[in-house]
Symmetry: C2
Subunit: 190 residues, 2 copies
């Protein structure tokens, strides 16, 4: 997606150790027009797969998942990292190691909003190691739901997430694939 | 806003102690069409005030702030509750007591995205005690920016937030005002 790649090239920063700073337009300050365009494109790529729900993880997955869901006309559920008091005691919970946080986080979804009949499209801002997305897939599987596809705004292909997700056997779509961040570079690989 | 009030009346639940469960359409599962309608309405109410940026707090403020910002054509910044590694060491930070969490949370914004020239519209999902919104206003003031308005999706008027925010001297708009949640009721007050 050229609009996104141009923005990453202009405003993204390689902070070293594979860390891409995009907090000026994706995950602290958000450009709503860009997120809407990303959502429209992800929706188009998955429109024919019969999804009934979009699933993401708080916090930075919310913006692209919301716009994707808006363009698909579907509800979106964001997995919580802490159980709110409004959630019932019986929950779906899994643990996912977070590379950028350096620790394991909980991903929690209420059974009220993830049923066995659902066809789930997983959307996140980043596909890196794939661990968060695998966690979301485990939540869907715990509910007896079917994962039908995975979409990411930015994929860091050098972190191996696509291979980690291959066992799910579903289409994986990324709007910008970065293949190399060594030596201060941001190299697009698609 | 009738669409929102009808949805609260149909799907909202009064859990007691002033806690309103709306996690089926606002803050766990999100109805993107409803959020888009709320954002359109909030944008219309503040369109003439010359805002340059929308400010909210993660997590549940993100959806309505994003749709409001989309309809105003402005960037949106969500204050973080933990400092990410992509943020510089010099930050704006304030503490805000969270009634529903029973503890104090940090609200953090990078100075990169909140400048003294900004005219800030604060958007959140709930206006209850007003403490989170007051915290966001302190962050804007710390940056030397000007708060020009406050918008909430749902106001619980019996928690006194509107009075707490009066010192800011800016317009406050809520799309649904709930005046009474005693005895299992959800009474609209506007």
């Amino acid at each position: 997606m050229d609009l996104l790649k141009q923005r990453i090239a202009r405003d993204g920063k390689n902070l070293g150790n594979g860390i891409l700073k995009v907090d000026g337009f994706i995950n602290h300050q958000v450009d709503p027009g860009l997120m809407d365009a990303c959502g429209r494109e992800l929706a188009a790529r998955f429109r024919d797969l019969g999804a009934t729900k979009v699933l993401t993880a708080e916090i930075s997955g919310i913006a692209p998942a919301l716009t994707t869901a808006l363009h698909l006309g579907l509800p979106v559920v964001y997995a919580r990292k802490q159980k709110p008091i409004t959630m019932p005691n019986e929950i779906f919970l899994t643990l996912a190691p977070s590379h950028t946080k350096g620790r394991t986080v909980e991903l929690i979804v209420s059974p009220e909003y993830l049923r066995s009949s659902e066809r789930v499209l997983i959307i996140d801002d980043f596909l890196a190691s794939g661990q968060t997305i695998l966690g979301l897939a485990r939540l869907a599987q715990a509910a007896g739901a079917t994962v039908i596809g995975i979409g990411a705004v930015i994929e860091k292909s050098f972190e191996g997430g696509r291979a980690a997700l291959a066992t799910l056997g579903v289409p994986i779509e990324s709007l910008a694939i970065i293949s190399d961040m060594s030596e201060d570079k941001i190299v697009f690989g698609d």
